[in-house]
């Protein structure tokens, strides 16, 4: 491994970390970390939540100083960086949650705080100059939007490009992308990977942090694996491999991630016919969901998947069509109607829509079904805690007590709380919208295991996912949506990335043979 790196490493690395150590009270976040980043090198950085990635990022961003160790940028040593120093040295960040002003246009976002001025008494902002200045950066990134487009109108991938344009405009030498693809749809991910390749070609180094190992595999020249603050593995280009990374990340093999179904496909539980949603009011969409199966719903963002799920859950109005549950037509005017009938949704935006961060675990679980925890109209907290204890044991929710504030849990455990509240109510249909977004590998495997367990217990599971690995690994069948319609249904034998992608962009499947 070392040999190959020595050959590839350029004469002088842009960034060199030696024996960087950082401890917080009671925990070693980074235990003597070494890293070399050469110009134009794309480094994949992987590790579970809590492995030390964020501490490393904070050190590079100048937010926290290391306890010991040295940082060298272009050969100049630093004991610790300041936020301004890090920027001046050419390190730029693109965070998972983008720091853009939705209400301003692209150019204003790129030049915020350092706008070109016209001079004179008023010294007004020179908007024309600003837009002209930003254009070359957009061109370099292959962007397809104008400098005066409001950021609110851009897709997520385009917004990321604005952030990257901002990095280019300050002459960044190293761009750090933190979970850039976790909320990107398939096609836009490709676009981002192209942008990364473009940066590389210009000699700009990239550190790419992601839970989506597949993309790490595609983009990186070298992969660093962190576990418990220690660099546990460094893989050269040829050695980058999904299973190897997982093994290093969690310290053991993870073969159980995708369990096969125990039951065959059962009866049709939920059938939607001729559904029209607000997103595509003129297109009919329908699907049948069987007991005991996990139906993957793939497609690009904007293909109408989330809208379909919201209609099936009663939160969005049904413009046309019928929904039947166990053969009976049902009217779903609001989420309470759906919940009453055993149709539940695990939403995409966990913190924003899934749980109440300020409430204890027990109260999150009881919320949809308070009557079940009440005696003569009064909620009995003891009953809530009994259920919560049971859920905690069943789902393996890691929390000190069931009255712990839900917001203090990790993402994976928060997702388990969302799941727990529905499992306590005997689901018939469970709709997952991006069930493992931003959740680390170990917790992902647990969520998959729970989903499979539900299906095996006869629940009909619909899983919306933009994560190709997940769609192919977890589903029993895959329905692909394209512009408001189901463009194809794939059985297990037909599962392939190519097939899903072709259907997602509206092309027919290639005929076999």
């Amino acid at each position: 491994m070392l040999d190959s790196r020595d050959q590839e490493a350029p004469a002088r690395p842009f960034l060199k970390l030696s024996a960087v150590r950082k401890t917080y009270p009671g925990v070693v976040a980074l235990a003597g970390f070494d890293m070399l980043v050469g110009p134009g090198e794309v480094i994949g950085l992987v590790g579970e939540n809590g492995a030390g990635k964020s501490t490393l990022m904070k050190i590079l961003g100048g937010v926290t100083a290391p306890d010991s160790g040295t940082i060298e940028i272009d050969g100049a040593p630093y004991a610790g960086l300041s936020v301004g120093g890090s920027m001046k040295a050419g390190i730029a960040f693109v965070h998972q949650e983008l720091n853009l002003f939705d209400n301003l246009d692209v150019a204003a976002n790129v030049y915020i705080g350092r706008e070109p001025r016209r001079g004179g008494v008023l010294n007004l902002v020179d908007e024309k100059q600003m837009r002209a200045d930003v254009l070359p950066y957009l061109k370099r990134l292959g962007a397809n939007f104008a400098p005066n487009t409001p950021v609110a109108k851009l897709s997520l991938a385009q917004q990321q490009m604005v952030e990257i344009a901002k990095a280019l405009s300050v002459n960044a030498r190293l761009v750090i992308l933190d979970e850039p693809t976790s909320s990107l749809p398939l096609a836009e991910t490709d676009k981002l990977l192209e942008v990364i390749a473009g940066l590389k070609a210009e000699g700009i180094a990239v550190i790419f942090i992601s839970h989506r190992l597949h993309e790490i595999e595609r983009a990186s020249d070298r992969v660093l694996v962190l576990r418990d603050g220690v660099l546990v593995g460094e893989l050269a280009k040829a050695e980058i491999d999904h299973d190897r990374m997982v093994k290093l990340m969690i310290g053991r093999d993870l073969k159980v991630a995708y369990a096969a179904p125990k039951l065959g496909k059962g009866e049709v539980v939920l059938a939607a016919r001729g559904i029209r949603t607000a997103a595509y009011p003129t297109r009919d969409v329908g699907l049948e969901l069987h007991a005991g199966e996990i139906l993957g719903l793939a497609g690009l963002v904007g293909s109408g998947r989330t809208e379909l799920a919201r209609v099936l859950f009663g939160v969005d109005p049904l413009y046309a069509g019928t929904v039947t549950l166990n053969g009976e037509p049902v009217t779903l005017r609001n989420a309470s109607d759906a919940v009453e009938r055993g149709i539940f949704l695990v939403p995409e935006d966990r913190k924003g829509e899934g749980i109440l961060l300020d409430l204890p675990i027990s109260e999150n679980i009881s919320l949809p079904d308070l009557d079940a925890y009440a005696r003569s109209g009064l909620v009995v907290p003891a009953l809530e805690r009994v259920q919560a204890e049971q859920s905690r044991a069943e789902l393996g929710i890691k929390a000190p007590t069931v009255t712990t504030r839900t917001g203090s849990l990790s993402g994976g455990n928060q997702q388990k709380v969302v799941l727990a509240k529905w499992l306590a109510m005997q689901p018939k249909v469970l709709i997952f919208d991006e069930p493992t977004r931003g959740i680390d590998v170990g917790a992902k495997a647990e969520i998959y295991r729970l989903m499979r367990g539900l299906a095996d217990a006869g629940v009909a599971v619909l899983m919306i996912s933009s994560d190709m690995e997940e769609v192919i690994g977890v589903s029993d069948r895959i329905a692909v949506m394209h512009e408001g319609r189901i463009s194809g249904l794939l059985g297990r034998a037909e599962f392939s990335e190519e097939n899903v992608l072709r259907l997602a962009v509206g092309k027919p499947l290639r005929q076999a043979g």
Binding site: Y24, G26, V27, A29, N49, G50, A51, G52, T55, D228, G229, F313, V315, N334, A335, S336, A338, V339, E340, L345, P347, D349, G352, E353, G354, I355, L356, L357, D358, L359, E363, S366, L367, P368, L370, D371, A374, G377, L378, V379, K398, A399, P400, T401, T404, S408, S410, K421
Partner: protein, 338 residues
């Protein structure tokens, strides 16, 4: 940093936080302390404070703010606001007046005044919950509309004749029940009962839980099957009910109704709930907080009067308490790292 340690820290925090630490972390504890200190100070400084007559006045006055404050707390817990409560008090008082002045019985005036108030709340609730307008704007508009309608109803006359049931009206609003030799004003009894019911409902019922859920995260509440629209309408009707009750009681106490009835009450009430620990961002607030906040405001007002300090200073004191209460809350939360 790692999952294990954050778990350990959390457990440590949980176990090391004793009762005293919990008490100190409550805003209401400090406000209650301020109330008690103010009472003791006034008892030492003046001879007039601890007289039965003064206490009777103080408790009756604060009962009105407290009653509306209980409703306002429920609204604020959902992340809403109601600026129209003062005007609703006027609507209720005017309805009572017109009916009783016409010689009709009080048994009709009570349900009619409450119904008129509930109608105001219903309109607010529908516009906010169903149409989806911001509560601030809706109730700002309603504040103006309701006061104007109340004025129209008065026909610009000061009414102090309430027909055959006048004595009953006056004795309900202005009377008292003697407990252990001390006269307890009726509005105070109403407030205490309402506070117990509200406190109970907030803490132990489905409705109460739903209020906190909506204030904590409305989207999550919707996607959990909480009947958000119905609950929001109910909460604006509840605060209107409280205002209606106050309008009726206050009519009986004052013995006359003017168009200025309830003017500025909305701000006093919001101040009381905020001092009592409710957050305008929603998700927090208690019935006890509303009552204690109302008590503090009334004691400040009364103390200034008794000490011979110009009542012009009242706003400075109340305003400082609002800012201090919220600031200290912010600081304490920073300490615990949240």
């Amino acid at each position: 940093m790692t999952t294990d340690t954050s778990l350990k820290d959390a457990i440590d925090q949980q176990t090391h936080r004793g009762f005293l630490a919990w008490l100190i972390s409550r805003q209401i504890f400090w406000i209650l302390l301020a109330v008690i200190i103010a009472i003791i100070a006034m008892m030492l400084l003046t001879k007039t404070f601890a007289t039965p007559q003064n206490l009777f006045n103080v408790t009756r006055n604060f009962a009105f703010v407290g009653i509306v404050g209980l409703g306002m707390t429920a609204v604020i817990i959902t992340g809403g606001i109601d600026l129209s409560v003062g005007a609703t008090v006027l609507i209720s008082a005017m309805t009572t007046t017109i009916i009783m002045h016409a010689g009709l019985p009080i048994t009709l005036a009570i349900p009619a005044s409450i119904a008129a108030s509930l109608l105001v709340g219903l309109i607010n609730g529908v516009l906010i919950a169903i149409v989806g307008m911001p509560a601030f704007v809706v109730t700002l508009g309603m504040m103006s509309i309701a006061r104007s309608i109340g004025m129209v109803m008065s026909n610009n006359a000061l009414i102090y004749e309430f027909g055959p049931d006048q004595a009953i009206l006056f004795s309900i609003g202005g009377g008292s029940v003697v407990v252990g030799g001390l006269p307890i004003p009726n509005p105070l009894i109403v407030m205490v009962l309402l506070a117990l019911i509200t406190g109970f409902a907030l803490r132990w019922t489905r409705w109460g839980r739903h209020l906190y859920a909506i204030g904590g995260n409305e989207k999550a509440a919707v996607l959990t099957g909480v009947p958000v629209k119905a609950v929001k309408i109910s909460v604006y009707m509840f605060v209107a009910f409280c205002a209606g009750l106050t309008g009726f009681l206050q009519t009986g106490w004052l013995g006359s109704v003017t168009t200025g009835f309830g003017t500025g009450l909305e701000l006093t009430v919001i101040a009381a709930t905020v001092i009592g620990g409710a957050s305008l961002a929603g998700g927090t607030g208690t019935a006890l907080g509303a009552v204690v906040g109302a008590a503090l405001i009334e004691i400040i007002r009364n103390s200034l009067t008794l000490l011979g300090i110009s009542t012009f200073w009242q706003g400075t004191f109340v305003g400082s308490f609002i800012i201090l209460a919220v600031a200290s809350n912010l600081l304490r939360n920073k300490d615990t790292g949240e």
